[in-house]
Amino acid sequence: MSASAFGRIGVIGWNTFREAVRQKFFNFLVVLAVAMVASSFFFRQFEFESGELRFIADFGYGAIFLFGSILAVVMTAQLFFNELDNRTALTMLAKPVWRWEFITGKLFGVAVLLAVFTAVLTLLLGGILWWRETLLMTEYPDAFEDGRLVSYGGLLLFGLIQWVKFCVVAAITLFVAGFANTNLYTVVVSFIGVLICQLQYVAHDTWQDVENSLLQFILQIVGLLFPNFQMFNIGQPLTFPDSGGEIETAVPLILGYGVVYVFVFLGLAVFAFRAKEV
């Protein structure tokens, strides 16, 4: 890839990002996600002995996962099909812009958008946890004899891992958009794909216990074709290191796993887009 290719990808990505942040949907989603993370502080009254800080963290993880997944799928599809519907893609591809540069630029722009989103929510969650933990330390000093319970470095690491997962989701959406004809179809199929990736671990864990050979084969195929998104849900042991386990050893593997799948689905998106009528 030449420097000019990087330049073109960067320009497309930056314009994609600028277009995305102007979308009302993005702003609405950010406000909703921030409100939900902040509301975890009030919902803590409903927690039943699972630990207030863990409950707040759990709630925050849920908000990041839910809204991040929605943003990754919907915004990616919307930004892609906007280019096609407004014929700006046609104009762009008439210039010396390769199709793979166009797709890569789109993914790059969405990745920056998701990074901003994930960083905002992670920092907000960290702020709430810090504030609440400080209050608890004042109220119950005996429970914090060994120092703070929350690992804020681990929380930031979790945010990074979630960003990589959302990039995989965006790459999957771009792949689907490459052969789909409509925005709606892309969104629906992508969400189904995300759900399958979330459930992949059930197929992986249970195929050996199934007696039906056809079902066993199907579960094996699902376990092979789809990435395991549950691998990215390691917020608790990262944020609360006393949960046990050696999660730090797995973090580089999980990040590498996600990055490889980003490139795999990006490659498939480029392949699918090669024959698409623009």
């Binding site: 709630f59 459930l199 059930v202 092979l224 395991n228 691998m231 386990g245």
Partner: protein, 306 residues
Amino acid sequence: MNKAQGNAPQLTPSAGPFAPDGWLRRQGLTFLVAVVVLSLAGLCLRPVHDRAWPVARATLPETRVHDLEGALGQGVLLAVLGGFRAIVADLVFIQMTAHWEDDNREKVESLIDVATTIDPRPEFFWVNGSRIIAYDIRHWRVEHLGGREQVPEAVQRRINREQAERALALLDRALEYHPDEPTFLLEKAQIYANRLKNKEQAAHYFHRAWEQDGPYYAGRIYAVLLTELGRHRDAYDFLRGWWDDLPEDDFRANKALVLERIRSLEDKLGIPEHQRLPVDRAPRIFPYQQMALPVAPDQGEVESSD
């Protein structure tokens, strides 16, 4: 167009998905390449996955894979809810308490099951759920059949046994998620002792709870149950072996009470003076142990089990 056709539009055969320019032919190559590439990626990343997954897996609640349908249901719940499962489980449990106020047995039992399935981590759901099933629902069922005065004792005993067994089954599920957790072992012991009057099993579970660093009273009750079962020697050996490990400055250990029971067993067993437990000084008596605690009047429970 000829004059016979007039101005009718010419109909052409529609190009189906299998036509040379159909969408299946056009996209077929894309799907094929996707399957091949993803399969290769899955195979190449399998070593990475197999190294990282067991570590990440340990952080997830155990998937019950006894039947695929159950595992899928639980998997879907976990996948869809993600981090929200804690709040959803809490709200389900709160909803259960609303039905508990109405003595709605079916709703209560099903919502206890749902709450513990969605989020099996909190002990609160399991403990209170099992208590409701074992102690409350048995009363409701008898009341719905006409009350304790009307319902035959054999029927009451059957209901008591059924509810106790359902509660024990719930606690067995809890122990699958929280192996050897003393809280659940204690609950099982209490149900065997109070509902089923099975002192053997109760003693077994109090002992197991004590072994898992459970509360001091678990050990004391274990010794009492051994005594009631006529196993005085076993009770004495247990308390005697435990005595040295009991702390002096923890009122919960109640060392004075343990000494009292050791002395009582020494008298019962006729242990010679020189073989009895030597105590250099009397254990500390805490202020609360000298108070006359209020005792609830005996309500004369009509309970017995087969």
